[in-house]
């Protein structure tokens, strides 16, 4: 098979595995979820994964940790959230802070 055909095989395989992963989560038997411990862990899991995602998106650049315009933007977002600003304002201001700092040549 040509390299082009193998690439298609890989793309379809990645798609099938991605879908299977997502479906597996939705297919966990109800009886497991009725276990209070599993129920509590499932509730905490989304908080922990999304928090870790914010941290990685703020500080990671490949496999190194950097302090750049993203941190300033996320810090401003945190202040706005604390002041109960609407979602769209938080996101737009964060983008503006990062874009502005980069236009000024920092981060």
């Amino acid at each position: 098979m040509s390299a082009y055909a193998w690439m298609w095989v890989a793309i379809v395989a990645a798609g099938v595995l991605s879908f299977a992963t997502k479906l597996a989560g939705h297919s966990v038997p109800e009886s497991w979820l009725e276990n209070p411990r599993v129920h509590r862990i499932a509730a905490f899991v989304t908080v922990s994964l999304l928090s870790a995602l914010v941290a990685v998106q703020t500080f990671a650049s490949g496999r190194t940790l950097v302090i750049d315009a993203r941190l300033a933007a996320v810090a401003v977002a945190a202040v706005l959230l604390w002041r109960r600003a609407p979602f769209i304002v938080v996101v737009a201001v964060a983008a503006g802070v990062a874009a502005g700092l980069r236009a000024l040549g920092w981060g």
Binding site: A14, S18, F19, R37, F44, A52, T64, F87, A92, A95
Partner: protein, 230 residues
């Protein structure tokens, strides 16, 4: 009251869809630069539909890696989507057949985060958040992937527009309502520290996934019911 909260939910879903869609532009361009053609690039967005996994796939190919290691890396980065399905169970179930398949395909960071950012006492708003964000991101991401693949290197870096910081701020805003209790705050803080500590020493995908260990520790004992995020 219900109407007001649904409208706010849809607004949130649409703004997340737009911001994520814009990232599709850079995915499309990067994928073509890595050597995939326009059809392959669009197939990745349709079939894999998970930003981190797709960027990893074309990253491995672009670096000269074997297509099968691209599959492995992409799958590994997508494992967290499996946890999301479990976390969404109280909101989304019961679901069967095509509905469950459709929900699975659009179970990603964004749809999960918008769903769970809605008040726990309003399951309708949570389901609305999930479907509007999931379908909105799916449409935007796939349409703009095509545009990015066609434009190729003529488009700029999304970072110039602050879109990378906007994504981080959006996820912070979405997880924020779930951090009301000290135990959830501690879980969030520990997850951040663990993910950052692992970033320099583990492959991409491990740091975020490893944060699930923090959730297991937090939920293992006997926290009072009000301390558990709903």
């Amino acid at each position: 009251m219900a109407r007001v909260s649904l409208d706010a939910t849809r607004q949130q879903a649409l703004s997340v869809s737009l911001a994520t869609g814009a990232y599709g532009l850079s995915f499309g361009a990067l994928s073509v630069a890595a050597g995939l053609d326009v059809w392959q690039t669009c197939a990745l967005s349709l079939l894999v539909f998970s930003g981190g996994s797709q960027f990893a796939f074309v990253g491995v190919i672009g670096a000269g890696g074997h297509p099968f290691s691209a599959v492995a890396t992409s799958t590994f980065l997508g494992l967290r989507n499996g946890f999301y399905g479990v976390g969404l169970a109280p909101v989304m179930r019961p679901m069967r057949g095509w509905r469950r398949a459709a929900a699975a395909q659009v179970t990603i960071d964004e749809s999960t985060a918008v769903a769970l950012a809605q008040p726990a006492e309003d399951p309708d708003a949570r389901r609305t958040g999930f479907w509007w964000t999931g379908i909105g991101v799916f449409l935007g991401w796939n349409a703009i992937t095509l545009v990015g693949a066609l434009l190729g290197s003529r488009i700029g870096d999304p970072a110039d527009w602050g879109l990378d910081a906007a994504a981080a701020a959006a996820f912070l805003a979405l997880v924020w309502p779930r951090l009301a209790h000290r135990r959830a705050q501690a879980v969030a803080a520990a997850s951040c520290v663990l993910a950052l500590a692992l970033t320099p020493i583990t492959p991409a995908g491990v740091p975020v996934l490893a944060a699930a260990a923090v959730a297991i520790v937090a939920g293992w004992g006997h926290p009072r019911a009000e301390e558990v995020p709903e």
